[in-house]
């Protein structure tokens, strides 16, 4: 935030509608969740106060640990693939001319497909029986069936996420690149900088801001991912692709264990919040210091 802003507490009135709408959607359900998380329910309408029992139970449950581990592995994998890939594609995209629009429109397309449709597309694309991908891989002599083999399910899930979200990184990185004045490239040319030096000392520092947004969004969203893996694998085979959200819904709606589900929700939410906050502070502080 810039410093030359005037202090005006009446600005609160302008923020009020946003505050009311978001609070209605955020605070009331959150309080409901908190309420559940400290109570025991019988038949869904009789409640007893249980204090931190559910939290302790969730934190010590192996099921939660396994889901969390899977979630961390998934997030780390897709970040490690999508961020460098997205930057690489943005670097090779045309900077002007008619192809820019073509690239942007086609690349943005996966972002606008409803999430369950994304799951459905990949389901019918990867099925070993009539999916192109499944057929092709098996045709190469590699046994592949994502509904039976945990490794294949993981591979398909990661590939789907890369397909679905890399474009977001591309768009952000591209926007960052386009904001670099031409003089920087000219100066680098004159200074005799190599292609690598141009990337390392001009493009990467100038993309820092948008890449922060990209990592933050992908980090948050990959932790929330539910619909696509639910449609694609349903969390299986076994529990091999049961990420946090899927596990949560299984507990809450499948088994109607509201207490543990709520406690898990809160732990989960706080984790996402803490990670985003840490990342956000580290990146912005780094920026302020340099």
């Amino acid at each position: 935030m810039t410093l030359d802003k005037t202090v005006n507490n009446r600005a609160w009135f302008m923020v009020l509608p946003v505050l009311v709408l978001v609070a209605f959607n955020a605070v009331i359900p959150l309080m409901t969740v908190v309420n559940y998380s400290v109570q025991e329910s019988f038949a869904g309408n009789v409640f007893f106060f249980e204090g931190s029992k559910w939290f302790e139970q969730v934190l010590h449950s192996e099921r939660f640990h396994a889901a969390l581990l899977r979630q961390l592995a998934f997030t780390a994998t897709i970040l490690a693939i999508e961020i460098p890939l997205g930057v690489g594609i943005a670097l090779t995209m045309p900077r002007k001319g008619p192809w820019v629009s073509v690239c942007l429109v086609l690349m943005a397309l996966p972002l606008l497909i409803p999430w369950n449709v994304v799951g459905a597309i990949w389901n019918i694309f990867a099925l070993p029986s009539f999916g192109l991908l499944g057929r092709a891989i098996n045709g190469l002599g590699i046994s592949y069936n994502f509904t039976r083999d945990a490794g294949d399910a993981w591979f398909t899930l990661v590939l789907m996420d890369v397909w679905h979200w890399t474009s977001l990184v591309v768009l952000l990185a591209y926007a960052g690149l386009m904001a670099i004045p031409n003089a920087y490239y000219q100066a680098a040319k004159i200074d005799g900088a190599s292609r690598w030096a141009v990337f390392r000392y001009i493009q990467l520092p100038k993309m820092r801001r948008v890449l922060t947004i990209a990592v933050l969004l992908r980090l948050m969203d990959s932790f929330m991912i539910y619909t696509e893996p639910f449609v694609l694998t349903g969390g299986g085979p076994g529990n091999s692709t049961t990420l946090l959200s899927i596990d949560l819904v299984k507990i809450a709606l499948g088994q109607f264990d509201l207490g543990p589900a709520a406690a898990m929700s809160l732990i989960y939410f706080l984790m996402v919040l803490a990670m985003s906050w840490v990342f956000y502070t580290v990146m912005t502080r780094e920026e302020a210091r340099t």
Partner: protein, 360 residues
């Protein structure tokens, strides 16, 4: 340092230039002597930056060639030409310190560590950057950043030429003056050929030994600041340089006499065969117009008097044509009319905008 020649150089940004209008730079021939201080002066969009980028190799010309010491470098990159260039907006490498910024061009060229360190410190000293050598470059002010850009050019001792593309645009007025004189001093110190693009006549005239005035993709005049002032080759040059610019009066010229608004004005030289030219004009700088003593001179109407300190500028009109007259602080002007007289030696005749050489 190199002698730079531009031979029949022209440039169009579009791929298939048709008419004159498609060319940002119309065919020119020009030579820059080694060690000279040059300025490319002209209004925005006159092609001066295009010309600069053609010299530096950031642009490849549509036609013609660029020669450095007689060698054709038209197809060479800026790096191969060994050019240094400072841009309008300061370019610094944000993540590097000032020291690393200055060392960057040398590191890219594989200069040994010790020689590099010596050179960087020398240039930093020259530019007054020594105290901030170890600071991150992005934290500095605009003028310090511009000094770094300049320094990155200076560290390379063997550059063919240093080019400046309106380098003082984003600098505060006060520091502008300081940097400008520092630049002039640097030129004397290092002796590199320097070419300076600007639309500001003060910058051009104080920095350069030779000023190249451009307009609409053409070169109108090449000359020393004095020549540009005393003998503008084109009415635009007369108007663009000087403040206020040259007075231009519609006239008809016959032999040694010009006629303006029915009044005969004697000329220092003889001109003939001007009757067939579309537009004949008389040019004289405000510095060479005086208020005539009572009863003499050409009567004019006084529109306004601007007091600019050491002298006053009277804005007058002669039969509807506007003129500026420089008047001493102590000259008294009263009423709304006066009479003026011209310093005959400084009257120039222009036909269709071009200066006409008269016969003595």
């Amino acid at each position: 340092m190199a002698r730079i020649e531009l031979a029949s150089l022209a440039h169009a940004y579009g791929p298939r230039p048709r008419g004159d209008a498609d060319y940002a730079l119309k065919t020119i021939n020009l030579e820059f002597k080694p060690g000279g201080a040059y300025a490319l002066l002209g209004p925005s969009g006159c092609g001066k930056t295009t010309l600069l980028n053609l010299i530096s190799g950031l642009l490849v010309p549509t036609e013609g060639s660029v020669l450095f010491d007689g060698t054709d470098v038209t197809e060479q990159t800026s790096e191969q030409r060994n050019i240094a260039q400072v841009f309008q907006f300061p370019v610094v490498y944000d993540t590097m310190t000032v020291y690393e910024n200055l060392a960057f061009p040398l590191r890219n060229r594989g200069v040994a560590r010790q020689a590099l360190d010596l050179r960087v410190r020398e240039i930093a000293e020259m530019l007054g950057l020594t105290p901030s050598l170890m600071q991150k470059a992005r934290r500095l002010t605009a003028d310090a950043k511009q000094k770094i850009s300049l320094g990155r050019g200076l560290v390379r001792a063997d550059v063919s030429a240093m080019l400046f593309d309106e380098p003082l645009t984003v600098i505060d007025p006060q520091l502008k003056w300081e940097l400008r004189s520092q630049l002039k001093q640097l030129h004397r110190q290092v002796g590199t050929t320097m070419i300076y693009v600007t639309h500001d006549q003060t910058e051009a005239l104080t920095f350069a030994d030779t000023v190249i005035v451009m307009y609409d993709g053409r070169i109108l005049q090449v000359g020393s600041p004095q020549e540009l002032f005393e003998r503008p080759h084109h009415t635009f040059v007369g108007y663009f340089i000087g403040s206020p610019g040259m007075n231009i009066l519609h006239a008809s010229v016959e032999g040694r006499t010009a006629t303006v608004a029915g009044r005969a004005i004697p000329l220092p030289r003889a001109y003939d065969r001007l009757a067939d030219r579309a537009r004949v004009e008389l040019g004289i700088r405000p510095e060479f117009v005086r208020i005539a003593p009572q009863g003499e001179g050409v009567p004019v109407r006084i529109n306004r008097i601007d007091d600019v300190g050491r002298f006053k500028i009277a804005r007058v009109s002669l039969d509807g044509q506007a003129l500026s007259v420089m008047v001493g602080e102590d000259t008294q002007l009263s009423g709304d009319s006066a009479a003026i007289e011209f310093d005959r030696a400084h009257l120039h005749v222009y036909a269709d905008g071009q200066l006409v050489d008269g016969k003595a």
